[in-house]
Symmetry: D3
């Protein structure tokens, strides 16, 4: 059930049986010479919808732009500042808690969002407590990073070994190839690729990682791999969502 394809009456009915909501969050940032700028949002959205189907849960519209400041020296990247993303999360949850939602399951496609999301959850819990809504102290946010699922990680290691890298990875590229076969890209990929460097500001990032990849070889990706990743992530996170719902 997709929130944007529902009516408020349908949401009202849903709330009488569940207070859970799945929120996909991605990023709009460079993913190397062959990776799509929307990779993180595309993956998060598809997996979130898969979970929604599997668990009869509502899926919110995707937060397409996240915290990707370190990628902004590559054209096409768009980033919110962490403080802005925190406000986006806060405002969104405020609207939803007032309506009765209390269990928020964020399906996240971007490692760079994690710190900001955690900070946002903390700040939101405080703001909710200050409002003194009846359900304020029952609101729970859970962060589910699909690329950190055990099953996903295991498959990536077995398929790609060290060439999985940590950005513009073959696993995420494979998933976008599965989801958007019409947008599979070709570009020369230098076999030399920087790896293991720390991340600081945007200009420094591009200096270190000259084509945007971080230790990865996305040429290994195939749409068939992508389907496997999709299935594993949806399965593992559907279980995670149902467990989250059942917890006190």
């Amino acid at each position: 059930m997709l929130l944007h394809l529902s009516t408020w009456l349908e949401v009202e009915a849903y709330l009488s049986r569940s207070q859970g909501l799945i929120i996909p969050i991605g990023s709009t940032e460079q993913h190397g010479p062959t990776g799509l700028i929307g990779t993180d949002a595309i993956c998060a959205e598809a997996i979130a919808r898969g979970i929604g189907e599997a668990t009869q849960a509502i899926v919110a519209p995707t937060i397409n732009v996240g915290m990707a400041l370190h990628h902004t020296a590559f054209p096409g990247s768009i980033s919110l500042r962490p403080s802005t993303l925190m406000l986006v999360i806060r405002d969104s949850l405020m609207s939803l808690v007032r309506a009765g939602f209390t269990k928020f399951f964020f399906v996240n496609g971007h490692g760079g969002n994690i710190a900001t999301l955690k900070a946002a959850f903390s700040e939101t819990y405080l703001d909710l407590a200050n409002l003194n809504l009846p359900q304020s102290d029952r609101v729970q946010c859970r962060l589910a990073n699909w690329f950190m699922c055990g099953s996903v990680y295991g498959l990536a290691k077995s398929l790609y070994g060290d060439q999985e890298g940590s950005h513009a990875t073959p696993s995420e590229v494979a998933l976008t190839q599965y989801l958007h076969p019409e947008a599979i890209k070709q570009a020369p990929l230098s076999p030399q690729v920087a790896s293991g460097q720390p991340i600081y500001g945007a200009i420094d990032f591009r200096r270190r990682y000259s084509d945007g990849r971080m230790g990865s070889n996305p040429a290994l990706a195939t749409p068939e791999h992508g389907k496997q990743f999709y299935d594993l992530a949806v399965k593992e996170l559907s279980e995670g969502y149902l467990k989250f719902l059942s917890e006190d």
Copy 2:
């Protein structure tokens, strides 16, 4: 050309021939008993993509959640505060201007976004001036509300007359029916519908407009009408975008 399905190398190449970007912005809010919560985002996204195809322009990911505070007493609505939406616009444009974009064409699906977007543009121009980027004083934002196109407005009046209303209108519902025939909804619609009331806070709004409609009769909508609206909006706004690009 969709930004999220492009690579940064493709964006770099694009920027050497155009500095224009189309940004769809919608809202996630109740649209009456039969309108989709995502109506405004769905319409803006589809029309923006149509313009992008017609003009060879890049289309950014859709801003799905806008300024809909007055709708938040209906479940499923999500809103940013105006001040947060202003920061979202500011941060996004900052990323893009640094990359070389200077002409931003916002395809907007929600009347409630207009004031905040205008305020955001003003604030962003100042922030850009403070950065002293070479292109700072050449950045231009244009707001294009598809539902205010002369051709669209004319068709709506001819098809629906006074029953067009001003929220959950048959024209926007028709457009979503055309785009999402799988999500055409049925629900009883009272022939009595409030109209012409002012808009204040969320609770007051629901008190005045008890089922969420504002003077509209969305039962008049058909997918065929939707296609007509789509074609008119894409045509008129494509011309608007090209004119915008050509202006000094």
Copy 3:
């Protein structure tokens, strides 16, 4: 009744019979070679006071500085950022709502304030709802732009036709001449005046509108015209205020 010339005891007494307040808001910005920098505040203040007298309503002190960022490349202009003006409105209304005021009638003298004021009203309604004051969901803000009154607009068109323009207009200059005959200015006015250009940042604005006027010929203004505009605006807006008070 002017708030600044009243005592708190008088306000307390007033509140027992009315919860309405008239708030003039202007701007401090260039108005071409012959227009006063304070034009928008002067006009709004005078008309607001006229309405106050006609309706026995309290008039708050004038907000002299508004949102005029696009004028700040001309010396003497002062502007708040939209986000700051929103906080000014929010804070002011919070003080007043706590005291018992619930109906706020903004008499506005500057088009550039409109978007920010609308955004501020939305944000304030939310903040009030979060406070859970008994009257929170009864607070109403109304924006009354004197220059958009039907009667004013009609007279301007009949007196000046196309030479009314849209900034440093003869109508507003006439009104300041009526109110401040000691400050009627003379300066050469080029017959060539830019018109119909869009508005972006401050430097761009001055590049387009080199002497600050936007399509207007303020040399047509006379103090006698000013009195006519004053009378029409006070009459029309007094009726508007009383209607606003009487509405649910």
Copy 4:
């Protein structure tokens, strides 16, 4: 020379001979049973204009609402939060520094503004330094509290002794009587008046100072005293302004 009655061309000419600006700032707050709510703005504005005339300096529009949170339990008081007032000062100075002003002389009518103004000046100096304008490190703000002038203070003590008090004082009431003889108020004043209590929040303030006065007997005020205060303040602060201008 009043900024709001000037044109931008006149300001441009002024800037070629002086970079100084006088900014009156008051407050909108209860002043006891007989004091005007606008007392602090009225006094600051009149004195600032007197200084402007005496020194050929431009006087900016008055900041009518200041930091008066502790007075907001009395109806009619309006206050900005300190953080908001800081932004108002910052934004205003930013506009003016860009135009070439560098010497800002604040004529202040309200003790409660002092801390916030000082904090605002510090923050503004930093923001200006971050902009790297040529004149950034030459900008100077000076705070001139008319009621703390030696000559004013001396007269108040000689006329009223301990009955001067510290809020709704006879000296400020006298000044408003001189400036607005049409608004001289009568109300019973209890001879018992709280004094010397500390200031915390708004509700606490009203509990301690039940009619709004702080140790004062405004019944001693006369318009003639008011003229004396006016003359002394204008003289002393005009000298202060000229000295400020002449300093490095």
Copy 5:
């Protein structure tokens, strides 16, 4: 009793007998060629702990960094902006008020903090009122500047006369010598030292006060003097704290 060396159970027990808390606040800023960068925090912390011992009060951890923007052109200085320091104070007090503390006694070591602290207190009272906690309108903040104690000031004048100056004073240097004899510094001190100059931005400050001192001769300081200052300040402020606790 030091908060950081206590357990929450001990704090809970304390709160049943007292709602007072002593909060030391200093600064991290240059103090001339021989003064310690931590002077203001060191002094405030030691005196606060002395008061805590004398009065059986809990002492909070020291706020080591304050508002010292004007010192930041000297290396080693760290400053919060006033608006940030206000948030730090606000957040901290919010945590503490929720736990039951209502009387906050700030022992301050830095003149530059005073304005910001006062502004922060005002803003916090409002935020507390908005939360509607039972104790909201009983919260009291008191600012105690140790260097402004009558007894301290008197001793400084008698020991150093005009050479006390106003920054990097012998009195505060003496106190740090008493507290940190291992860190007594030697450096040439020009007998010419600027004095009486106003304070604007950081670069301007260093231009005026070239070695960081303001009219002071810290070479006069001795650890023995430091002990005297310590004893006087602890005695006078302990009485002040007890009086504060006893007040309504």
Copy 6:
């Protein structure tokens, strides 16, 4: 070398040979019935100073209050909101970068700070880039959590096994016992201790973790263990700091 015990001349000299700075950051929060509220700040400060001695680096004053919102239902806890802590970090780094520091090594004692610190670093890199300082894109922040050192973690597991838990751990309690033997606390510790529960808001946290511990048995701690932890952490992090300095 401790910043607060240095003079600005000494810092200036230091900067000519190193641009590194060690910044301890802790928290002020409950640590169970026997743990000190200042545990995280005490540990971070001591280890940071140990590193400073071992590497001849300057150590900044400790940030005593961090992000501990989830602990604030236990009295004595003080927390900044994440957004406030981000501003504290930002402002502090801005001061220091202007002075010439570029390598910031945060010795952190609190897991709850990690997300906010990472977000703060990202935001600060952007703000520095916007300032266009020469060294802007060379600024590097490194987060060093002493409790996550391999050597520390190994010892904790070997000494305490599962009873190490994740808050109010015997390892951190041991370290405070070593550093503050005068403040070793005794209190009954239930053998039943909650463990593995998620963390949401403050009230929820206390409901789940009734005495504040998270799966830990701090009764196992001894001062001797504390010395071992101290030595291991200082050794490992000193190497880490030197490596950080040497990196590009």
